[in-house]
């Protein structure tokens, strides 16, 4: 039986596209300071400090060790994990294992990225095998444009639905002071944006942002002592499947890793109606089709229903099942930080501390997801109560 684990401190930097006078260590320090202040603890209370991001994006090797004066890991335990876009959720999960194993009582986990100091698309282009399929996929957009077309073909989703998703996200982000792109866009604005790779135009793609997020995780006994509003990490699932250009969701194929993650998580937690039993979903949504398509693939709604929910306005901040009320990855994408930010935002919703973008109902349970590689899914279930 695992030890139970709670989130007892949450901190994030503001996010933006360029901050030439702030270095990556200072970003980390900012998020850590805020998380510790939120938990009302000092760095000396942390038994282990773990920081993760993507090595090739800024070009630093072993940067967990390089920046450990800023993160507070110097002189403490910790190690780095790197699993692509899911690295942020992986940091939360790594922290969960540290505490659930009984080896640690309280740990600090950090995800960060500073995209203005690197080139993302050339780095992402190296994820595929140099001999077999590197020439298929240019950055992330090649694969995501392909799956978007496939989704439109099989489900009846139109370009306008993706534009609605982006317009909704812009309204949500405008209420989130930490989001990167806070401009409000109409459906027409989105439709008129410059095409990048059909069907994804510039506004339907996530931006490149910079920022950091830190979480303090504690064991049950510790959390109850030190925290008035612990958010329990009730369950988590990680699924990875083999990549390949030819397998990238073409035709009838659905996102199998998301499906496996959703199936496992809901079965283990006896969730039969995810849109009722969870009240909000902070999704890693790096392109506008992700929200309708992946709601289906995570088994949250029925196949081909996702875009109809968008059309009804059900997924807006004020809708019946708010998805990414923070504005999501569509408005803020600092990759190593993007997925842990989903966990942080979902936890804020559970606590009722999301401020202007707090959803208008009690959040008893929330979902947070991470996405990376070509098919890599992390799905977490957060809860107000332990049971």
């Amino acid at each position: 039986m695992s030890n139970r684990v709670a989130i007892v401190g949450i901190g994030q930097t503001t996010h933006s596209g360029r901050r030439p006078y702030v270095n990556d260590g200072e970003l980390i320090y900012d998020a850590v300071t805020k998380a510790l202040a939120d938990a009302d603890l000092s760095i000396n209370d942390m038994e282990s400090v773990m920081a993760g991001n993507m090595d090739l994006f800024e070009g630093h090797a072993l940067n967990d060790a390089m920046l450990n004066l800023y993160s507070g890991a110097a002189g403490r335990p910790g190690f780095k994990m790197n699993t692509g876009g899911t690295v942020g959720t992986m940091m939360a999960i790594q922290g969960w294992y540290h505490v659930a194993s009984g080896l640690y009582d309280i740990v600090l986990v950090i995800g960060w990225e500073k995209h203005d100091e690197g080139l993302v698309t050339p780095a992402i282009s190296t994820i595929t095998d140099p001999a077999v399929d590197r020439h298929f996929l240019v950055g992330a957009i090649g694969g995501l444009a392909t799956v978007s077309v496939a989704y439109m073909q099989r489900s009846g989703c139109k370009l306008e639905h993706a534009a609605m998703v982006r317009a909704d996200a812009s309204h949500a982000a405008s209420r989130n002071p930490n989001a990167h792109m806070r401009e409000i866009y109409s459906v027409e604005d989105v439709m008129n944006a410059r095409m990048v790779m059909y069907p994804l135009n510039l506004l339907m793609c996530c931006p490149t942002s910079l920022g950091a997020t830190a979480l303090v995780l504690a064991s049950e006994s510790k959390a109850k002592k030190i925290c008035k509003k612990p958010v329990w990490m009730k369950d988590h699932v990680t699924v990875h499947v083999e990549y390949g250009g030819a397998q990238f969701g073409i035709g009838e194929k659905r996102w199998t890793s998301h499906m496996e993650a959703g199936a496992k998580l809901f079965k283990r937690n006896h969730i039969t109606k995810p849109m009722v039993e969870t009240q909000v979903f902070e999704m890693y949504d790096p392109f506008a089709f992700a929200i309708p398509m992946w709601l289906e693939d995570f088994l949250v709604c029925e196949p081909n229903e996702g875009w109809k929910l968008v059309e009804k306005g059900a997924l807006k901040l004020s809708g019946e099942y708010p998805v990414s009320p923070s504005g999501g990855v569509l408005c803020t994408n600092s990759i190593g930080d993007s997925a842990i930010l989903r966990v942080a935002e979902a936890a804020l919703q559970v606590r009722g501390d999301a401020g202007e973008h707090q959803v208008d109902r009690e959040v008893k349970q929330a979902l947070a997801s991470g996405f990376g590689g070509s098919y890599w899914s992390d799905l977490l279930l957060l809860s107000k109560t332990m049971d």
Binding site: A65, F79, M81, T83, G102, I127, T238
Partner: protein, 384 residues
Amino acid sequence: MAGRVGIVAASMTKFEAAKTSQHLMDLVVEVTDKVVEAAGINLKDDVEAVISCSQDHWDGRTISSMPIPDATCSHLKDESKVAGDGAYAVLYGAMHILSGDNNLVLVVSHCEESITDGTMIENWSIDHIFHRMLGLDYTMGAAMQARRYMDKYKITPEQFAKVVVKNKGNARKNPYAQEAMDLTVDQVLKSKMLADPITQLQKKPVSDGACAMILASEEVAKKLTPNPVWITGAGNYYEHHNLGDRDLAECDALIKAAKKAYKMAGIGNPVKDLDLVELSEYYAPEELLWTEGLGLCGRGEGGKLIDSGKTQLKGQLPVNPSGGLLSGIPITVAGMTRVAEAVWQLQGKAGEHQVQGAKRAVAHGCGGLCGQMHCVLVLEKGGK
């Protein structure tokens, strides 16, 4: 530790300077096949999660574990990657089991150092604001550390050279080793000078290879093998990064990691309680400093320890009976091979370099500039 984590089996490739005919994933397939056979399990049905260990820069690839599900037959399973040293991946695998989340985990690490320029990667891991432009790499760091160590504790170059003679000599009995050599102290000191006092033979050679192991909960481990090896203690700590924030003749992180692991395992006197140590010496002087950090001798006595012969293969407490990293093991794989060697010793499967009657061992992984992070694992056979 709350429960016990057993290591059921371990495997390695032979280590070579350049495995030009094998793709990185061929190495993973090779060690996975071997370890699955050794553990007597079904890869597809029995392995619940895979922990891999590699670093993007060394593979020249963002998300270097992308092809791991393919190579380990773990389609739709939990796969996650430790981006550091392999010993940490073993520790993370143990956490998966201790948490009750998994009963059987495959841990695998791979690296082909020959496909890239390691000096540049080392430089990219050094603080980019103050130190990187000095052109530092790990060899220069090791040289500065060795100089400080010599200066503070009166250790001599001859004592460093003895480490090389011992380790490359031990490697002659290890069929997986890359560089087995019959050397003299003089030959080591007279090999090409890289960064004073580090000569070519005192530096780990460029190497390609992989390592894997199967970790299981106590119940499952006992079912699978009559001689599981238990992880009974673990500790890991970071040093400060900036060299100005450290005394390079000291190794505080290692001392803390060892103390924590020993306390967990109930070890009071490591010299008496341990039967062998497999540690990560990327450079010869590190072995002496790490033996001090691991409490195998007093502070400043690393030189005396190698002089005494106690750490020889037939000595009282053999250190690196396998030949250590100096015989050629790639980065990231390094710490995991230390664990694997210790496992084979405790299972009595080490072959010609077997330490007779070994019951308890320490495996040590490390990484970064001047040994910036250390992971110590205590391994035991038998017990309740």
